[in-house]
Amino acid sequence: MALCIWLLLMIVCAAIVIRTPVRTDMAAFLPRSSSLAQQTLAEQVSKGAASHLILLAIAGASPSTLSALSKSMAGRLRQNAAFIEVANGDGESSIGVREFVWRNRYLLSADVTADRFTVAALHAALENDLGLLGSDLGALVQQSLPSDPTGELPTLLDQLGGTKGPSHRDGVWFSAEGDRALLLILTRAAGFDIDAQQRALALIRKAFTQARQALSGTETVRLLESGPGVFAVRTRDTTKRDATRLSLLAVALVAGLLTFAYRSLRVLLLGLLPVASGAIAAFAAVSLGFGFVHGVTLGFGVTLIGESVDYTIYLFTQTARGDSARDTLMRIWPTLRLGALTSIVGFSAMLFSGFVGFAQLGLFSIAGLIVAAGVTRFVLPHLVPAEFFAKGTEPLARPLLAVVRHRAASRFFVAVVAFLAIVALASHRDGFWDETLSDLSPIPAEAQALDRTLRHDLGVPDLRDFAVFKAENQERALEGSAVLAVALRRLVRQRKLGGFDVPSQILPSEETQQERQAALPASETLRNRFDQARAGLPFRSDTFAPFFRDITAAKTAPLLTPANLPPVLRLRLDSMLVRRGDGWVVIAPLRRVADPGGVAAAITAMRLPGAAYVDLGQESGRLLQTFQNEAVLLVSIGSIAILVVLLIGLRSPARVVAVSAPLAASVTVTAALLTLDGGKVSIFQIVGFLLIVAVGSNYCLFFERPEHDVNERSRSIASIALANLCTVSAYGLMSLSHIPVLHDIGMTVAIGTFLSLFFAAAISTRGAIMRPAIAGERGRNAPWPGDERDHLSSP
């Protein structure tokens, strides 16, 4: 009957799981209440122009060799359609943009108005040109003068240039120290397209190798890579490698331990049944509750319900020779049930989190543990071979029995250690919480440091300040951004802002383009006015033929659309002008905000729908703050709920103390150990603390449990030791991972559960039990009267 229900449940769940979408974007993990700005920005991280960036440095040879390599590599990469732009500082970099701006200067320049082409204005422009010709910029002015006497280009290049590039050496970009040649690449594919990024990286490495082979003296040269795509590829590789290698190792290790203990392959596999059933059911439950499952939920969730492997260990190991699993289960079920309940109650606090990810984790662990405990209770007994008992577990109990035997000394020791831990925590400076968002990222610290160095070298600004607003269509968005530009220019003049980008600089609205065309005088009119303007100035009359030709052409030229922008500008436009739902959002990057308050006030004061100033750093900080506050709150609520459940289950405050004291001590000591060198506690470690309590509470409950005789007690202790060995080895291996999440959780749980084992042995163990078994009698048939009373009666 139980088997049938279980099979049916699994089939239904599997059917749901197959149809469930798994999402991995950050936006899906954010709080449901997050603003449009937050969501759009989260999306920008994975799809915006910045995600197409690859930063390269070539190091390890003389500057001339590095320069030659840079040129050779850039030359090879520019042949390839996978790259929109390959800039290394030589003359070829961004030629396309310069040509485009030159060709379309009369449509792009905000200075093009009817006033620009009156006799007086033209005369003033020519006088200005004359002054420039005499200056040190004379040769420059002379080159463009015949086509551009009104000087549209210098203004436009200033506008589009943005920040300054790095310094040059031997004709290419170099770091300030001169030890690295630098390249900046834009891939056609966005950063989230990991397969395409991987291909792009392969092309880059191939070009590097070829460039190296073509030159001598390049044996010691290294290529350094960074950027969102590089990180994405590397994280996937590391995750794959860590996940496969570490989980294979963990499985091998745990399977080895269990094989040694059980000496039965069938039982070994049965041990996985509850956790596997739990995971499938939990996946289905989250799917039903949320409509999708986040990748993070999936990864974490399985670790959260990992303690259900312990349930089977308790069951199998505590079954004595000649006993049936069913009898054992009857005996230990109240304890097991209470252990599972504490975990479920502890995790259920997460259900109320505003963060979708947290809430999913809560639901996942609740559903998973209920099903896993149910399978242990109702399904496993039918499947365990009748004659089974765990042959190899006896030696496991010995070290713990020593602790139990010297309880008084052990308790004193625990008290001293816990006291020291409290002192260490109290004297910890600068707060415990890790408030640096980058520490949460899956990218190792060294890679982040390299990224900062290369960005600094190349002068790529880390965009964190934006002006945003909404518009109903693209034309409105472009018109709005021209209005925004006026306000932002005022802020730049007031030195509240260093600079900015708006989409209308790259693509003016159709209306603006038409206005500019209308402002250009007709050919005859222009010639007449120009002749009058030139009077009294020493310009040759035939000099300006290109100017008349260009104006005439511009007057009837087709209007610019996103489609005829060069790729680099298109990319910039697309990341500033984003379609969202049935409307558009303009995201204008701001540089060097000097007066955030003033900038925010000026932007909000504009009559643009949803206009706001967004400081991404502050937003992330705020998000992290919320995250942490919530984590602490949830852990507190969870702890209280656990105490309540224990009180109900154990019916004695003294017993609750005996069970919870070791847990409090081990979390405290673990926190102290983790922050010993001034380190901080991350969100992942908070999750780790929760796991310590969930797993450790089972140890405490079993130690605290009144056993009938010494054999039962030693089997019980052996089962705890075996469960702990498995947990410590699995999480210990996880702590070897290069991914901060896995490392943090692995480390925390491995240390914490190991401590709980010994602390539980010292503190939770009852005083009355360690009497010798009566010879010739099966212990469990002769319960100690005192224990029995303890077990059943209320305090």
């Binding site: 500082g89 310069r98 010709l133 002379q142 040759r540």
Partner: protein, 208 residues
């Protein structure tokens, strides 16, 4: 034809060239003209000059203009690589080249433009040519130019013709005229037909 930043670089480099050539060595009693006076000796004399300042007048003839433009101002040089040109008439403008770093201060609101010279590889040749003359660095000079010396120590002429085709696209030749360790005039012929002549009168008050 797009006006690229290379254009900026070129103009700057030409200016720099002038600036570079201006520093004048104060006349020091030089030894009598020996029979083997030549490039190495001239270069050695120029290399001995540690700093100098001068007045200049520059006359530019340009294709687009019907009349030449005349400017004047002051020049200063500190060995081995700092050069400054300050135009006073008709409009005030300052140009400084310090090692690789160029700075222009110009306009009514004293706008500052900064850039690094090596951003423009073609121009580096031009600037290095003149800076090398100033510093008496013959190997560098000959890396970029075919160098010809005429005349005698009291009245010599250095003719520099670019070796590199890219450089030749901008400039036909540079002619530097001087006496002893003192530079008196720099003439530049642009490849587009424009030319420029700068006459230099050294301040006698300079310490050598």
């Amino acid at each position: 034809m797009s006006l690229s930043r290379i254009g900026v670089g070129l103009s700057v480099a030409i200016c720099v060239g002038f600036a570079a050539t201006t520093p004048l060595a104060k006349s020091q009693p030089t030894t009598a003209i020996s029979a083997d006076w030549g490039l190495p000796q001239l270069m050695q004399e120029l290399a001995d000059v540690k700093s100098a300042s001068a007045q200049f007048t520059e006359r530019k003839t340009m294709r687009v203009l019907t009349a030449p433009l005349v400017t004047s101002g002051t020049l200063a040089y500190t060995a081995p690589d700092r050069m400054q040109k300050t135009t006073l008439v008709p409009v005030r403008e300052q140009f400084v080249l310090d090692r690789d770093q160029a700075t222009i201060v110009s306009g009514p609101d004293n706008q500052i433009h900064r850039f690094s010279l090596s951003e423009f590889p073609q121009i580096t040749g031009l600037v290095e040519g003149i800076r090398a003359t100033l510093a008496g660095d013959l190997p560098t000079l000959q890396r970029f130019y075919i160098v010809e010396l005429r005349g005698a120590p009291a009245d010599w002429q250095l003719l520099l013709r670019p070796r590199d085709a890219r450089l030749a696209r901008f400039i036909k030749w540079i002619r530097i005229r001087g006496s002893q360790d003192r530079i008196e005039a720099v003439a530049t012929k642009g490849s587009n037909g424009d030319d420029s002549e700068m006459s230099i009168i050294e301040d006698s008050s300079d310490a050598r």
